[in-house]
């Protein structure tokens, strides 16, 4: 597998009092769908910002596509790593949706006719073509996040980081965005997805979970392995996804003989 992002002995501190991240070693491969979980204040968002080169590490090295990132080449990352934030209202600058998507392209000096073509293409893919002439403020939460994602997709990123991007959405908005992420992945299996999330049900369906606590990586494994260590997670202020909890109790009482993490299959099994 090709590595796309590598962090080597990275530490970061916002002030002199304490480190937000300590000695982080992490390799992320091209095309992975990875969740970073951890209690509030564990360093999740800081880690995301370091990966996106929005923060500069206190010590350690960051590699992107095997190139070490320094002061002079942060553009290598900025061009290829897009970030969707929790509060969509904090990331709009355009008067209309189309203007907003154009902003990133203008920065890259894409010619005007090509720009409209790109905006049209991607807004159709994300289902916001009809919204292009609207004011961002009039959109629903899910629509706003779709606009933000469209702006990022238009830049043909290699990595998209979702920093609690679903936390403020209602169920419909949440499902819209989850489906959109799935579609993005389906259309381009090389794209790397990093989710910073508290939603353990969401994390459960990614390929790999990184657990952070007090600024350190305390676990890095597949979801089923990570959620096996319940006591450890609860000690870290986390919980188990509902489906894992349910399986655990059913196994304990002998109602099933092995765990089934697909909801529909589990129900079927229980009805037999």
């Amino acid at each position: 597998m090709n590595e796309i992002i590598k962090l080597k002995n990275i530490s970061y501190a916002y002030s002199n009092t304490r480190d937000a991240l300590t000695d982080i070693n992490l390799t992320i491969n091209k095309g992975e769908d990875i969740s970073i979980i951890g209690h509030n204040g564990s360093g999740k968002s800081t880690l995301a910002k370091l990966i996106a080169a929005l923060l500069k590490p206190k010590s350690g090295n960051l590699y992107f596509n095997n190139v070490e990132i320094n002061n002079k080449n942060t553009n290598l990352i900025r061009d290829k790593v897009g970030m969707v934030f929790q509060n969509p209202d904090n990331q709009f600058i355009g008067i209309t949706v189309a203007d907003d998507i154009a902003f990133g392209l203008e920065n890259r000096r894409i010619p005007r006719d090509k720009m409209s073509q790109i905006i049209e293409e991607y807004s159709k893919k994300t289902g916001i073509y009809e919204l292009l002439n609207k004011e961002p403020a009039t959109l629903s939460g899910g629509q706003k996040q779709r606009v933000a994602i469209t702006g990022i997709l238009a830049m043909s990123p290699e990595v998209i980081i979702f920093d609690e991007a679903l936390a403020m959405l209602d169920p419909r908005g949440k499902n819209e965005i989850l489906k959109l992420i799935k579609d993005i992945k389906k259309n381009n299996s090389d794209i790397t997805i990093i989710r910073i999330t508290h939603d353990l049900d969401e994390a459960f369906y990614s390929d790999r979970i990184i657990v952070l606590s007090e600024g350190k990586i305390v676990n890095d494994n597949t979801p089923t392995e990570v959620f096996k260590e319940e006591d450890k997670l609860i000690k870290l202020g986390l919980d188990l996804p509902f489906i894992v909890k349910l399986n655990k109790e059913l196994l304990k009482e002998g109602l099933i003989d092995k765990a089934i993490y697909d909801f529909d299959l589990l129900i079927e099994k229980l009805c037999k």
Binding site: G38, N40, G41, P171, G173, I234, L246, L255, E268, C271
Partner: protein, 280 residues
């Protein structure tokens, strides 16, 4: 405190071509001893309804009566009256963690107390008590709010609204962005505050929270109240048509029911397993 909505209508930009009707003919009396959840999809009018309660907004027509204060379109808002009412209400806004502005945590929390009770010099003590209650120890007092994590900022914001000891707390998405334990701690804290006699109105998308903590719920959709009553009763039925998420446990019960397995008295995983075993 008693809160009553009478034939309430609310439009944004009422006198312009951009008029948007947000609330239509709302009639409801909120039970004063409850934790009341107001739920509905984004744009259903939840925050508008709560913003009418303490005079942030005035009705387009109809009335909102909060603790005997009548608010209607023609009401002239006098500072003294509004201030007297707002003292009694702690309003925790959505994204309240982004509204901290002082250079230390203790100053930020004191702001509301000093504002509402300028002659009271016990504000620092009250603020400290509020901070300890939300689980932030002394070491936080002199730190800058901007150095804190998202979850810690949220706690500071909560301390800010409970410090002046309001009779009613309006909480707009208080648990968004908190981890599982943080969510439980904060909701348990609100429950504890409620038990001391503080009334709570809670806006949330999290039906698992509603099921566990709320005494009554109001479902808003398209600007009208579609359903109201006990969360246990309402959430059992299909609430997805109002764009709400059925709590995990009821989703499981409903899926089993569709396959012919009808279980009663299930409220959580242990009772589900017990009932399943009985069923054989």
């Amino acid at each position: 405190m008693q809160i009553e909505f009478k034939n309430l209508y609310f439009n944004y930009n009422n006198n312009s071509e951009f008029k948007v009707t947000v609330l239509k003919n709302i009639n409801y009396l909120i039970n004063k001893n409850n934790i009341t959840a107001i739920v509905g999809k984004t744009g259903s009018g939840k925050s508008t309804l709560t913003e009418l309660i303490n005079y942030f907004l005035k009705p387009t027509s109809g009335q909102v009566i909060t603790d005997g204060f009548i608010s209607e379109n023609s009401t002239k808002l006098k500072f003294k009256v509004v201030n007297k009412l707002r003292k009694k209400i702690g309003y925790l806004f959505q994204f309240s963690e982004n509204q901290l502005f002082e250079d230390t945590v203790i100053k930020d929390v004191s702001f509301g107390v000093k504002n509402f009770y300028p002659k009271d010099d016990g504000y620092e003590q009250k603020s400290k008590e509020a901070l300890r209650l939300v689980g932030l120890d002394e070491s936080f007092d002199s730190r800058s709010p901007f150095d804190l994590s998202g979850g810690e900022k949220k706690r500071v914001a909560i301390a800010g609204v409970i410090a002046y000891k309001p009779d009613l707390l309006i909480l707009d998405e208080p648990t968004a962005g908190l981890d599982a334990q943080g969510k439980k701690e904060i909701m348990d804290l609100f429950k504890k505050i409620h038990e001391t006699g503080v009334q709570i109105i809670l806006i949330t998308h999290d039906m698992n929270v509603v099921l566990e903590y709320a005494d009554e719920m109001i479902v808003l959709d398209n600007g009208s109240i579609q359903k109201y009553g006990s969360p246990k009763e309402i959430l059992k039925e299909n609430v997805e048509k109002y764009n709400l998420e059925t709590p995990h446990i009821y989703k499981t019960i409903n899926a089993l029911k569709e396959k012919g397995i009808v279980l009663n008295n299930v409220t959580d995983i242990p009772s589900l397993v017990t009932e399943l075993k009985k069923h054989g």
